[in-house]
Amino acid sequence: MALSTESIDAMKKAAARYPQKRSAILPALTIAYRQIGYLYDDLYIEVADAIGVSPNEVASAATFYTMFPKQKVGKYLIQVCMNISCGLMGAESLKEYLLKVLNIKEGEITEDGLFTVVSVECLGSCTTAPMMQVNQTFYENLNREKVDKILNDLREKG
């Protein structure tokens, strides 16, 4: 069992609120992803058990939704918005800088296991571009000093 009792309880609680259990698949996958950090096949069976739907139903949703990584990523997943408003404010350069200082390629994990950088589409933060999301947190109006500080703070936290 990879899922914690807390996660399973939270999934059951979510499922109880919907008129139909299948609706709880996305909330349940969100809970699983936040506990484990990524999704994989065997996990779908556990999720399906927790909310009382079929593993196939869970798998077909999980594979469609790109927000949940399907392989291991760094402890801090840095998602850089590369869409138009951020692009106009230097997103390409921001990503290049992150990859350089972390010394990785897109999608890779840093040696200390802490960071992965990926490109994403518009995150709904266009008026505070450029921006990036680290796990669940948005960092906006970025410049080099801010990025350095964010990385340092995360490294310190470990």
Binding site: R22, Y65, F68, I84, C122, C126, T127, T128
Partner: protein, 428 residues
């Protein structure tokens, strides 16, 4: 002009607390509706306001509600669309974060109007903070008896649920959203049947945007007539515009509909950054045709923007200065539509990929002169030939940039490099 109706309390840090909201007259509209008005009276009032949907298409909200069959024995559902994924758009988030009870109250009134016992708010999965603000507000509303069983002793029951998505733009499209809410992949459904007749769990469902529903309690409080006097005759009320790109003061601004675009960009936005010249404006999110600097006085209302050859869309106004490579703009957006195509219909699935590959070839310096016609052909083969409007949207930036900036394409192809090089903020 700037007119803060939805944003009246947006700067009050205590506004998300229910006591603050109530102390300013909040939940009075819900009480009035439940105690004094019949559902059809509410729909009438909303019709009188003339409010049109703020999610993109601009369909009159009151009319949509009246399509819900009254005699259906099935349960009815209200869904508030907080997917907010159209590039350039970030306004619903502001309402959910800073005035969540305005959203909750609007949803509750609307649910009552259509006879729903369940109301869902579908929030894009990346919006963790807005979703937590909405959850907190909903919990508080339950505690105070504005949601749940027998609300304010009137016998009306309403459950309200926050549902978060999984990072797919297509789930903003209402039928894909409903599939997603049912736990399925976010693929679109063929209409008819329309959601008002057969939506969530095959039951009558109304889907409205966050900003649309946020206006509802204000319409009830001040009257449909009041609302209809704001804005222009056919575009009533205000709208929140998300000003982004190369302006000094980007941000979300609420304007009376009919306010000139120049007022937003120059007076509120402070004009173009670094003293550079304005080159292009996308007025309503990435799916709307580009306007030229000469069109900066276009009034921001549904009709005027349409007359100027574009659309008011989602309210995302994206400003570009002279040092912007328009082929790069096209490729950036082409990548987005390719990535977000749900894959259900071939013209969209294949066409968006082909467009992106062609643009990549051009920007890699390997383009051929025929590629411009190829791009236009690809657009013709997608436009109007797909199940949902994502396909139509995908061709807009391509056609628009070719039509207005063709020499930039030609230069790229002839010389293997851009006519205009991007000069944007640098981190390295």
């Amino acid at each position: 002009m700037e007119k803060k109706v939805l944003f009246a309390n947006i700067d009050d840090p205590k506004q998300p607390e229910i006591d603050t909201y109530i102390s300013k007259g909040g939940y009075k509209s819900l009480e009035k509706v439940l105690k004094e008005m019949k559902p059809e009276d509410v729909i009438e009032e909303v019709k009188k306001s003339g409010i049109r949907g703020r999610g993109g298409a601009g369909f009159p909200a009151g009319m949509k509600w009246s399509f819900v069959p009254k005699d259906s024995p099935k349960p009815k559902y209200l869904v508030c669309n907080g997917d907010e994924s159209e590039p350039g758009t970030c306004k619903d988030r502001v309402l959910m974060e800073h005035d969540p009870h305005l959203v909750v109250e609007g949803m509750a009134i609307s649910a009552y109007a259509i006879g729903a016992g369940h109301a869902f708010i579908y929030i894009r999965g990346e919006f963790d903070y807005p979703a937590s603000q909405m959850r907190k507000a909903i919990d508080q509303a339950y505690e105070k008896g504005y949601l749940g069983k027998n609300i304010l002793g009137t016998g009306y029951n309403l459950e309200m649920i926050v549902h978060t998505g999984g990072g797919a733009y297509i789930c903003g499209e209402e039928t894909a959203l409903l599939n997603s809410l049912e736990g399925k992949p976010g693929q679109t459904r063929i209409r008819p049947p329309f959601p008002a007749v057969e939506g969530l769990y095959a039951s009558p469902t109304v889907v409205n945007n966050v900003e649309t529903l946020s206006n509802v309690s204000l319409i009830i409080k001040n009257g449909g007539q009041w609302f209809s006097k704001i804005g222009t005759e056919k575009s009533t009320g205000t709208r929140i515009f998300c000003l982004s790109g190369h302006v000094k003061n980007p941000g979300n601004y609420e304007l009376e509909l009919g306010t000139p675009l120049s007022y937003l960009i120059n007076d509120l936005g402070g004009g173009v950054i670094d003293g550079k010249k304005l080159k292009a404006i996308i007025p309503g999110g990435s799916s709307t045709p580009i306007l030229k600097p000469e069109q900066i006085d276009t009034p921001l209302d549904f009709e005027s923007v349409a007359q100027a050859g574009s659309m008011l869309g989602s309210g995302g106004v994206i400003v570009m200065h002279e040092d912007t490579d328009m082929v790069w703009v096209a490729r950036t957006l082409a990548h987005f539509y390719m990535h977000e195509s749900c894959g259900e219909c071939t013209p969209c699935r294949q066409g968006t990929k082909w467009i992106y590959d062609t643009l990549t070839r051009i920007t890699a310096g390997e383009g051929k002169m025929d590629d411009i016609d190829l791009l236009l052909d690809l657009c013709d083969n997608i436009d109007g030939k797909t199940i949902c409007p994502l396909g139509d949207a995908a061709v807009i930036p391509i056609r628009s940039t070719i039509e207005l900036f063709r020499p930039e394409y030609e230069h790229y192809i002839k010389n293997g490099k851009p006519l205009v090089e991007n000069k944007f903020m640098s981190f390295v």
